[in-house]
């Protein structure tokens, strides 16, 4: 081949590349979590549901007593739901009186509207549970009894509501339904764990059923857990992964085909922490000394299968786990301590008792670990040690029920403890104005 003909081929190649590139944007994306197209922190655990903030310019350490408190919003009732924030609005729920209330606040913490969605949860550990999800001018939420409702984000007007336990023949669970529904474009994903569907997609405009997956084979396994689904692309498919009461299930997000179930139960059937996708595998953890497992996702011609890679002792209750740079970070319940787990091997690099169990999110080179007794800590990640850089007390430390997860957005840290939502300034002073 002469240089000239080669260059001609190369030029043709570039033209083809440009065409392929456009098509690749829709069909050819690599494997990984599928982010919400909405700005901000529009759903539980952030844009990808991985509890990872992409922001930079955050404080590397806090002053004594914590970062500057900008405001506190009160009157949010009793609840563990975390805020979601998008389009200049904060949406958060709480139980007030006998009702589940949904609040819309502005970014100064002022209430703009509130709405009701059925009954409060007065069973074990009373209080509101699930976070909201925002999509295209609508706010979606499911209450502790399985009532999913869609609200107009502008004024809180209820657009539609469905009782998913009723529709899909599901049953209540001991500690109340806690699933943070996932909005997948024109569909809202719910996990009723019922005789008529393990998982289902509802039309986001009307609440009508779009697809309903098969129930799981074992009726006890297939009842819904307390966790929330994640959406990811794998081998050209879009798949949903969520916990059942006694197993982990993988469902095709477009067709509702149930691909695989991995059975694993915890002592009291409390499957709570949202599963974590990291480099081709799903990590999840169950409390009561039930341990953690990493399942590789194998995509084949006929679907997706789980293959167990390793188990690890950590038994996370509800605070979740964050993957970062080859390690998983989270805390155990009956095997207490903050743990760093090697994603290759499942080996625990350390177990630290420097903080009680709690929730964790990641942002700008730090872990934000909120202990259930209200100890808020900033931790430098790494396999050597649980390296607490700064800490302050959110509560008086008498109650072990600070369970809402921290949220990071626009260099602000949001912490919720029942009636109050606290907003802190965590912008690094020298950080550029633009993110």
């Amino acid at each position: 081949m002469t240089t000239r003909t080669f260059l001609a081929c190369a030029a043709a190649g570039v033209a083809v590349l440009a065409i392929c590139g456009a098509a690749a944007a829709e069909a050819g994306a690599p494997d990984g979590l599928i982010a919400s197209p909405e700005a901000g922190w529009p759903q539980w655990r952030g844009p990808r549901r991985d509890a990872v903030s992409d922001e930079t310019g955050l404080l590397e350490a806090w002053p004594e007593g914590g970062p500057r408190l900008l405001w506190t919003a009160s009157g949010l009732g009793r609840g563990w739901s975390s805020p979601i924030i998008t389009g200049g609005r904060i949406y958060i729920t709480g139980d007030v009186g006998g009702d589940l209330r949904l609040f819309a606040l502005d970014l100064d913490g002022k209430k703009k509207w509130e709405a009701a969605s059925g009954k409060a949860w007065d069973g074990p550990s009373p209080g509101a549970r699930a976070s909201c999800a925002y999509s295209a001018g609508r706010v979606y939420h499911m209450n502790a009894h399985g009532r999913i409702a869609c609200f107009d984000a502008a004024d809180g007007r209820e657009v539609w509501a469905v009782d998913v336990l009723d529709r899909f023949a599901g049953r209540p669970i001991t500690w109340g339904i806690s699933e943070c529904v996932l909005v997948d474009g024109p569909r809202v994903i719910v996990t009723p764990g019922g005789d008529k569907a393990f998982m289902a997609a509802l039309d986001s405009r009307t609440g009508a059923t779009v697809w309903a997956s098969k129930p799981l084979d074992d009726p006890k396994t297939q009842r819904t857990g307390y966790a929330s689904p994640i959406l990811l692309r794998l081998g050209g498919r879009r798949v949903l992964v969520n916990l059942a009461l006694r197993g982990l299930a993988c469902v095709d997000a477009d067709k509702g085909v149930l691909y695989d179930v991995y059975p694993k139960r915890s002592k009291y059937d409390a499957s709570c922490a949202t599963p974590v996708f990291y480099r081709g595998g799903i990590f999840y953890s169950l409390p009561s000394a039930s341990g953690s497992v990493l399942l590789r996702l194998a995509a084949g011609a006929d679907g997706v299968r789980f293959e167990k890679a390793w188990e690890s002792p950590m038994d996370n209750l509800s605070g979740g786990v964050v993957p970062h740079d080859g390690f998983f970070y989270g805390s155990g319940e009956d095997r207490p301590g903050w743990v760093c787990i090697d994603a290759r091997t499942g080996e625990q690099k350390y177990v630290s008792k420097d903080l009680e169990q709690g929730a964790v999110v990641y942002g700008d080179g730090r872990l934000y670990c909120l202990g259930e007794k209200g100890h808020m800590t900033l931790v430098r990640p790494g396999p050597q040690k649980f390296d607490i850089v700064s800490r302050f007390n959110l509560t008086d430390g008498k109650q072990a029920d600070v369970w809402a997860h921290p949220v990071i957005l626009d260099r602000r840290l949001y912490l919720r403890y029942h009636d109050n939502l606290y907003c802190y300034d965590i912008r690094r002073p020298d950080a550029a104005a633009a993110k």
Partner: protein, 427 residues
């Protein structure tokens, strides 16, 4: 890290069922030259134990692959212009189809190379082929071209020799090419940043991701996806680098410096390590422990060995040993854990084909068409020597109790049929 080192490294493809084992890609089901078959022939000649022998038109040093009752092969006729795929009947060797996949410009290459060197890969649904001009194509099992991916305008000082692999729904090809000019030493003698690993959707040929090496040099190394504990890792190498990528996204996880260029032997793994040669200039075998992050040259190179390093034939890992053969015929057995040489014996070369292991035996096929079968172990012992009398550069395939060997003129189906063996020469 004690436990980390002990993490099982499993070749992803090994999880596939092994019954009636196919040989779906370069170096077989695991990409490691290992067959799990039994009843594999040990001895033959041009006239004995040959089940069938089928003339193959054109020129090509790609190796045969086997899926079910089909054997696939690529070749180039018309001076390299017609890039072709053939399907033969495994039992009798009859050509089921022989189709032109595409027309290609016979570009630059060195003499030992051909215009059909990339071994095809099949997932049982399609056959994926890589032409000498860098075009990747998918064929139906009946030879119908389903898609072609011509995005990459390949040029190399050596011509193309890497083989594609399939992982999940991706076809993965490293393009460790070199500059077509004006300075042709760029990418070849001089490192550059234009090497790219391309992963295409196997159903459509559309690009899913492109992986970047950073600075590297020309190579023809067939990669390997393995499971390293909870993580999948795509192991690849080129001139100057051995690297691990996330096979789902193409993100580079770690890299090790290994000076050299023109690297040909494919990736071999075992015992938590990847073994790789460094090509020309400073020929060295390096063993790199898996599980690194970033540049782990200082921390993860377990050992180096500079004596009798193969440039063309791939190495063979059979726990606890690594077996190698140089082009000139130095057969070496090393301790895989340390790189220490256990034995070294000279066979009659030259050698291009990569060795194959079956039933405790290792098959070294020379360019003279002579196969030396030895026992795989710490003592060197020749079990048999068999000559076909034709030039052989492609690597043997093993499937269904038969060995498939490509010469410059024929594809041979060897052994595996007692009746045929007795008759000596079925037609």
């Amino acid at each position: 890290m004690k436990h980390g080192l002990m993490a099982l490294v499993m070749v992803a493809a090994a999880a596939a069922p092994l019954c009636g084992e196919d040989w779906p890609r370069f170096r077989g089901p695991t990409g490691q030259g290992i067959s799990h078959e039994t009843g594999v022939p040990t001895e033959w000649s041009a006239t004995s134990n040959i089940a069938w022998k089928t003339p193959i038109p054109g020129e090509g040093w790609s190796s045969p692959v086997v899926s079910g009752d089909r054997v696939f092969l690529t070749t180039a006729t018309d001076g390299g212009r017609s890039y072709r795929a053939l399907c033969l009947d495994r039992a009798g060797g009859a050509v089921r189809w022989d189709k032109e996949v595409l027309r290609q410009e016979p570009g630059n290459k060195v003499d030992p190379n051909s215009y059909a060197t990339a071994t095809p890969v099949t997932d049982g649904e399609r056959l994926y082929v890589l032409a000498a001009d860098g075009t990747l194509a998918a064929l139906s099992m009946d030879g119908e071209v389903l898609w072609t991916h011509r995005e990459f305008p390949y040029y190399s000082q050596h011509g193309l020799a890497v083989s594609p692999i399939v992982w999940n729904d991706l076809v993965i090809v490293p393009f460790d090419w070199s500059s077509p000019g004006p300075d042709k030493q760029v990418g070849w003698e001089k490192p550059w940043e234009k090497a790219v690993i391309v992963a295409c959707d196997k159903g459509t040929g559309k690009v899913r991701w492109r992986g970047k090496r950073g600075l590297s040099q020309i190579a023809h190394v067939t990669p390997q996806v393995v499971t390293d504990g909870g993580l999948n890792v795509l192991l690849t190498a080129a001139g100057g680098v051995i690297q691990g990528f996330d096979p789902a996204t193409g993100e580079q996880i770690w890299t090790v410096s290994t000076p050299g260029e023109g690297v040909v032997p494919s990736i071999v793994v075992g015992g938590g390590m990847v073994f790789q040669t460094s090509g020309f200039k400073q020929s060295t075998i390096r063993a790199v422990r898996l599980g690194g992050k970033g540049d782990v040259t200082a921390t993860h190179v377990a050992w180096e060995q500079k004596k009798d390093v193969p440039m063309i034939p791939s190495m063979l890992y059979v726990e606890p040993h690594l077996f190698t053969i140089t082009e000139g015929g130095a057969a070496v057995c090393l301790k895989a854990a340390t790189g220490e040489i256990v034995w070294l014996h000279r066979l009659r070369g030259p050698f291009s084909a990569s060795p194959v292991w079956a039933e405790g035996r290792i098959y070294f096929l020379s360019e003279r068409g002579e196969t030396t079968v030895i026992q795989a172990g710490p003592e060197f012992k020749v079990l048999a020597t068999s000559a076909l009398g034709e030039k052989c550069c492609a690597s043997p395939a093993v499937s269904g109790g038969r060995i498939f060997i490509r010469s410059d003129k024929h594809l041979y189906g060897i052994g595996g049929a007692a009746a045929a063996a007795k008759e000596g020469k079925p037609e």
